[in-house]
C-alpha cells in the first residue's frame, strides 16, 4: 500500500520532510497545512484547515513539523482521528504536555514516533554500534558538541528567540544529544548546566550552554551547545572507555572542500561538504524507519516515551541553569 501523509507545518523541517516523503516509494503527501499558503503549496496539496485536511485528504500518517508550542494540539487531534503520528522534537516545552500527548496516543492506540533524527546520523549510529560491540570497553566519559549560529528564519518571526516558546538551544538543539546519549549509555541521574538561557542581554542573538550529566552507569557526560558560532556548523563526539576511545569531528570528516574565487576575484571561503547517498540521509532514514514499523506492525523505533525522557533531561538542564543547582532525576 501507499501511505498517505498529511504534513502539518511546511517550515524548515516540514520542507525537508516533504522532500523525503516525495522521494520515498510507498508514501505520498496528500495534504499540507500551513498558515503560509505559498509554503504549503510548495510542499504538496494545501488545505485551509484541519477538518478539511483530514476529511478530504484521508491521510494514514500525520507528520507534525510545527513550532514546538503547537505539537500537543496536533498530536491530540491526530490521535483522536486515529492516525499514525510522526512528531518533530522537542516533543514539548513541558512534561505536562508530554504526558498529555502520551496519554492521547495510548488512548487512541495509534503508532507514534518522535523525530530524534540524530540516531539516524550515520556517524552517531556507527558510534552506538561500536559502543554496543564493546569497542571502548566500559564507556566512562562521553563528550558531544553541537555548534552553530543563532537560527535565522529569514525575516519570519523568530520563535527560537523567545525562550518561553523554544527553550533555547538546550531544548531545541542539544536535546538531540540528550536522546542519543540516553539511547546509547542509559538513564541520566543528575544534571548540572550553565548557559546564557535567561540572560536577556544576550539571548536572542546568542545562546551557549555547557551541560554535565551523570549516568546511572556511573559514566559522566558533557554536552556543548552553541548558537554563538557565527556561520558554519560543527559537531564533535568523543567516547572514552576503559579499553579504548572513539573520536569524531565533522570538520575532519568532510570529503569535499571547495575554495572558489568569488566574482570579483577576491578570496573565497572554504565550504566543506559531507554528502550522503539520498536514501542514507538521516531525515529520509527516520521517516523510512517509521514506515517500515507501520508496514510490519512493529513499535516505532523512537517512541514518545523516549522523547519525553530526552525532554526531561533538557528541562532539568534549564532548571539547573535557572537555579544554579544540580538536578537529580529519578
Amino acid at each position: 500500500m501507499t501511505y498517505r501523509v498529511a504534513l502539518i507545518g511546511a517550515g524548515t523541517m516540514g520542507g525537508v520532510h516533504a522532500r523525503h516523503w516525495n522521494a520515498m516509494p510507498g508514501a505520498e503527501i496528500v495534504g499540507v497545512l500551513d498558515p503560509r499558503a505559498d509554503a504549503a503549496r510548495a510542499a504538496g496539496p494545501a488545505f485551509a484547515d484541519w477538518d478539511t485536511l483530514i476529511s478530504q485528504s484521508k491521510p494514514d500518517i500525520v507528520d507534525i513539523c510545527t513550532p514546538t508550542p503547537f505539537h500537543r494540539e496536533y498530536v491530540e487531534k491526530a490521535a483522536a482521528a486515529g492516525k499514525a503520528i510522526f512528531v518533530e522534537k522537542p516533543l514539548s516545552r513541558s512534561i505536562e504536555d508530554c504526558d498529555a500527548m502520551l496519554a492521547a496516543v495510548e488512548a487512541a492506540g495509534v503508532p507514534a514516533m518522535s523525530g530524534h533524527v540524530l540516531r539516524y546520523f550515520p556517524e552517531f549510529a556507527a558510534a552506538k554500534r561500536a559502543v554496543d560491540a564493546g569497542k571502548v570497553g566500559k564507556p566512562i566519559t562521553i563528550r558531544t558538541a553541537r555548534m552553530a549560529g543563532f537560527p535565522d528564519l529569514g525575516g519570519r518571526p523568530n520563535w527560537y528567540a523567545d525562550p518561553a516558546q523554544s527553550g533555547g538551544l538546550v531544548l531545541d538543539m542539544i536535546l538531540h544529544d540528550f536522546d542519543w546519549l540516553r539511547w546509547t549509555f542509559g538513564p541520566v541521574t543528575r544534571v548540572f548546566a550553565k548557559g546564557l538561557y535567561g540572560q536577556e542581554e544576550y539571548f536572542g542573538d546568542l545562546d551557549y550552554a555547557l551541560v554535565t550529566l551523570r549516568f546511572a552507569s556511573g559514566a559522566v557526560g558533557h554536552v556543548t551547545g552553541s548558537w554563538a558560532h557565527p556561520g558554519g556548523f560543527r559537531t564533535t563526539l568523543e567516547i572514552a572507555g576503559d579499553a579504548g576511545l572513539i573520536e569524531h569531528d565533522s570538520d575532519r570528516s568532510a570529503p569535499l572542500s571547495a575554495m572558489l574565487k568569488t566574482k570579483g576575484g577576491a578570496g573565497g571561503v572554504a565550504v566543506p561538504e559531507s554528502p550522503m547517498a539520498p536514501t542514507e540521509d538521516p531525515y529520509y532514514q527516520e521517516l523510512a524507519a517509521f514506515v517500515h514499523a507501520l508496514q510490519n506492525n512493529l513499535p516505532p523505533p523512537v517512541t514518545l516515551q523516549d522523547a519525553r525522557e530526552a525532554t526531561r533531561i533538557a528541562l532539568a538542564a534549564l532548571e539547573s541553569i535557572e537555579t544554579g543547582k544540580s538536578v537529580t532525576l529519578s
Partner: protein, 332 residues
C-alpha cells in the same frame, strides 16, 4: 655572573625538561641535584653533568641562587621552605603548589616573609598558541567573554601520581590547576563557585581519574573543564590542552598541542603524533632565571597564582562529595 640553580627531586618527570633548559641557558649552571631516590638522583646528575647530593642541606649549603622543586606533591612545602630558609633568591615549584590550601598559603607567606620569590611551574602560559589566544581575547576579538570550555586530558599516569598519600589527589588536582591558571589569565577574575563530577572507573584506583568541573567566575563567566586521564594507552600522544573561548562577537578555539607530524611506524607498530610546536619550558626557565637575578618576570606564575589554582581544584573535591556546587572560599 652565572646563576647557581639546583633541582630538588626528579620525582616529577618535568624536572628533566627543566634540567635541560637550565643546562642549556648560558646565564645559569645546574649546581647540583638532590633526590630522595639516590639512584635516580645520581642518574640525573650524570645525565645533566652535575653533582648528586644525598642531603638537601648539603646542596643548599653550596650558595645557590635558585631552587627548582619537583618532588611528589606532598613534599613541596617542606622543600620550598627549606630552600627559602637557606636564603635562595627564588624558587620554582612544580604544580600543584600544594595539596591543601593551608599548605599553599603557608608556602606563599613563608617565602614572602623571607623576601624569597616563589614561582609556580605553569608552562602552558608560555605556549605561543595560548599567548596568541590571550592577545586576541584581551584585544577584544571575541567581544565580551561569556564562557570558556577547557579540557586537559592525559593518559593514565602511574607511580606516585595515583597514590593519594603522595599526590594529594588524582586527575582533578593534576590537571585543574593548569586550566584554572589559563582561565585566570584570560579573565582576570576569581572563581566564585565550583561544581564537579568525578570518578575512578578508568583505572579503578584509589584516586579519581575522571574530573568534569564547572566553574563560575566573578562577573558571570562560566567555564567547564575536563581533567580526565581518559586517553587510552595507544593514543597517538600524551594528551591535550584545548580551550574554546565564547564571546559576544565570536568564538576562538585553541588547541595548544596541535602542531604535530603524524607518524606511522611499521617497526614499532604504532601511529603517533610528533609535536613540532615550540616548547614551553625553555621560556619559563628563562623567566625563572630573570626572577632569580632580581629582574621582573611578569609572565611567570607566582606562588599566589599557584595557590589560586589549588583552591579551585580542592573545591572541586568538596563539590563532588556533595553533588552540588560549592563556593570558593576567599581570603584563607
Amino acid at each position: 655572573m652565572t646563576l647557581k640553580i639546583a633541582i630538588f627531586s626528579f620525582a616529577h618527570m618535568h624536572a628533566q625538561s627543566y634540567a635541560a633548559a637550565i643546562a642549556a641557558n648560558s646565564g645559569a649552571t645546574l649546581a647540583g641535584v638532590w633526590d630522595a631516590d639516590a639512584a635516580r638522583g645520581q642518574a640525573m646528575a650524570d645525565l645533566y653533568k652535575t653533582t648528586f647530593y644525598a642531603s638537601e642541606r648539603e646542596l643548599l649549603a653550596q650558595g645557590l641562587d635558585g631552587a627548582v622543586v619537583a618532588s611528589e606533591n606532598v613534599h613541596h612545602r617542606r622543600l620550598v621552605e627549606m630552600a627559602a630558609e637557606a636564603g635562595v633568591k627564588a624558587i620554582l615549584c612544580e604544580k600543584p603548589l600544594a595539596t591543601t590550601v593551608a599548605n599553599a598559603r603557608a608556602m606563599v607567606d613563608y617565602c614572602a616573609a623571607r623576601n624569597v620569590k616563589l614561582a609556580t611551574a605553569f608552562p602552558c602560559r608560555y605556549s605561543p598558541a595560548f599567548q596568541s589566544l590571550l592577545q586576541k581575547v584581551q584585544g577584544g576579538a571575541v567581544g565580551k567573554v561569556l564562557a570558556i570550555r577547557g579540557a586537559n586530558r592525559g593518559k593514565a599516569p602511574g607511580g606516585w601520581f595515583v597514590d593519594k598519600a603522595l599526590s594529594g589527589g588524582g586527575a582533578v588536582l593534576d590537571h585543574t590547576v593548569h586550566a584554572a591558571d589559563l582561565n585566570w589569565l584570560l579573565l582576570g577574575q576569581n572563581a566564585t563557585e565550583v561544581y564537579a563530577e568525578t570518578g575512578s572507573e578508568f583505572q579503578h584506583a584509589a584516586c579519581e581519574d575522571t574530573g568534569f568541573l564547572t566553574i563560575n567566575y566573578d562577573g558571570g563567566v562560566f567555564a567547564t573543564l575536563d581533567t580526565s586521564w581518559s586517553r587510552p594507552k595507544n593514543y597517538p600522544t600524551w594528551g591535550d590542552v584545548t580551550i574554546q573561548v565564547v564571546g559576544t562577537e565570536g568564538v576562538i578555539d585553541a588547541d595548544l598541542f596541535a602542531q604535530n607530524l603524524v607518524c606511522y611506524d611499521d617497526t614499532a607498530g604504532t601511529a603517533s603524533w610528533s609535536n613540532w610546536g615550540s616548547g614551553t619550558d625553555t621560556e619559563m626557565i628563562a623567566d625563572f632565571l630573570r626572577l632569580t637575578a632580581g629582574q621582573d618576570a611578569p609572565r611567570l606564575a607566582t606562588g599566589e597564582d599557584g595557590l589560586r589554582a589549588v583552591q579551585i581544584a580542592l573545591t572541586a573535591y568538596e563539590s563532588a562529595a556533595l553533588g552540588q556546587p560549592v563556593p570558593v572560599a576567599s581570603g584563607n
